[in-house]
């Protein structure tokens, strides 16, 4: 049960990290009459870029060990080891598999502090910008105007519209953020409020999960070390490895959300003198 709990925690962390999505409606049309809100100054951009780099390093680090796990799993299956109790060859494969699994946990454990630092840094800088720019320098009325001014007719097909699993590599996700905010940061009056809010909330969630996962990995490692004595492979191990691959490397895509219909600019709409 403890192992299961640690694996769940690990999987939740990996699921949470790439949840930061790019709302399609955040690609703003300029609203020159609105206030200029600077949510993504250079410091925030640098934090996002660095977090992406750390994520990329973690992926690269895990890619090789996960590949080995795949091969060992394949060998185990093809050797008809499932249920073959007492077979020395199968026990040896199972132990190797367990050892590789431990290696994966250790790799995660090594990389998580750096990831935690990067995520917390991004979270803190975004928190400050959100508080100052949207919380203190924006009224509810202007916030609403800014959000509406950002709505765009074009839905970019290659980017997810809502938060959720996307099947995109973690580092690519941060690269997308970086490119998005870097490209738009000098646009007149573009607040990108939705993007900032989305990244900030997911960084908070990721930060909590990283801390929880760090605690759980130690327990999972201990349990696996005990399992090594018995040479067992657990279904949870296979499930976690599958989850890691899916989230980190985007091997299976999530379901795309249904987008809202775009705003078609046709005839000039009626504007009431009573309109806000």
């Amino acid at each position: 049960m403890q192992l299961r709990s640690s694996l769940d925690s690990l999987q939740r962390l990996l699921l949470a990290l790439p949840l930061i999505a790019l709302s399609a409606t955040s690609f703003a049309a300029p609203n020159s009459s609105g206030p200029v809100v600077r949510l993504f100054p250079t410091t925030v951009l640098e934090d996002i870029r660095e977090t992406g780099q750390v994520a990329a390093d973690m992926e690269n680090n895990l890619q090789e060990v996960i590949h080995r796990l795949d091969l060992q799993q394949q060998l185990y299956t093809e050797s008809l080891c499932q249920g073959a109790d007492g077979d020395q060859g199968c026990e040896r494969i199972a132990k190797q598999l367990g050892a590789t699994y431990l290696e994966m946990l250790n790799a995660m454990s090594d990389r998580l502090p750096e990831m935690e630092h990067a995520v917390n840094s991004t979270r803190a800088s975004l928190e400050k910008r959100l508080r100052e720019e949207l919380g203190q320098r924006t009224t509810p009325t202007s916030l609403q105007n800014a959000l509406l001014g950002e709505t765009t007719p074009a839905v970019k097909q290659d980017k997810p519209a809502l938060r959720g699993r996307s099947g995109v590599r973690l580092s690519d996700r941060f690269k997308q953020y970086y490119e998005l905010v870097a490209t738009h940061r000098d646009g007149p009056g573009q607040s990108l409020a939705v993007v900032a809010a989305d990244i900030y909330l997911d960084m908070e969630e990721a930060s909590t999960l990283i801390a929880a996962t760090q605690q759980e990995i130690a327990r999972a490692s201990l349990m696996e070390q005990l399992n090594q004595s018995f040479g067992m492979i657990t279904p949870e191990m296979a499930a976690v490895v599958g989850g890691v691959k899916e989230i980190l490397f985007g091997e299976s895509g999530g379901e795309a959300p249904i987008a809202s219909p775009p705003y078609v600019i046709g005839e000039t709409p009626f504007v009431s003198p009573l309109a806000m």
Partner: protein, 178 residues
């Protein structure tokens, strides 16, 4: 002499009662016809003193518009509200509030002149609840009465984005002690 005065008074009272009854039934009679004729009837009755029936007229006109959805309906409502406002039956603020609540993408519930941390965050749940209620009215005004699904979906999206942005912003405000 006294007897004739009493008789005159009785007749006067009876006539007055008849007038009141007539007035009440005149004001409360349903508005019929298409939206334009219903608006004309409402305007006429309001001019004749049925001002206390304004709310029911407005709801009745919305129902009429719902049965005859058309993109030009917001303009008819706008003209109606401005006319009623000009006659002093409702205030300018009431006219704006009603029009925007039903026919504008923007939310009347999310308004204010102070900063978001101090004005909206302390009552964020209430604001979101009010916005959700307002979205129902926009569904009536934009979607069902005006057949303007695009504007309604923009309002729906605005509500979702506002919820997300307010959640993040208010957390950031809390973290900094507002």
């Amino acid at each position: 002499m006294i007897r004739s005065i009493a008789a005159a008074l009785t007749v006067a009272l009876a006539l007055s009662a008849c007038t009141t009854t007539e007035n009440t039934s005149y004001c409360a009679a349903p508005l019929t016809g298409n939206l334009e004729s219903a608006i004309r009837s409402a305007e006429s009755r309001l001019a004749d003193g049925c001002t206390y029936h304004f709310d029911s007229y407005f709801q009745s006109l919305l129902s009429t518009a719902e049965n005859n959805p058309d993109p030009s309906n917001p303009m008819l409502f706008s003209d109606f509200l401005m006319g009623v406002q000009d006659r002093g039956i409702i205030s300018q603020r009431q006219a704006q509030s009603l029009y925007n609540r039903y026919f504008n993408v923007k939310f009347v519930s999310l308004q204010g002149d102070y900063n978001t941390c101090s004005q909206t965050c302390p009552v964020r749940d209430q604001v979101m609840s009010d916005m959700r209620a307002e979205l129902h009215d926009k569904e009536m005004g934009l979607l069902r009465a005006s057949a303007d699904s695009q504007s309604f979906y923009r309002a729906d999206n605005l509500l979702k984005e506002t919820e997300l942005v307010l959640e993040a912003t208010c957390r950031a405000c809390d973290a900094g002690g507002r």
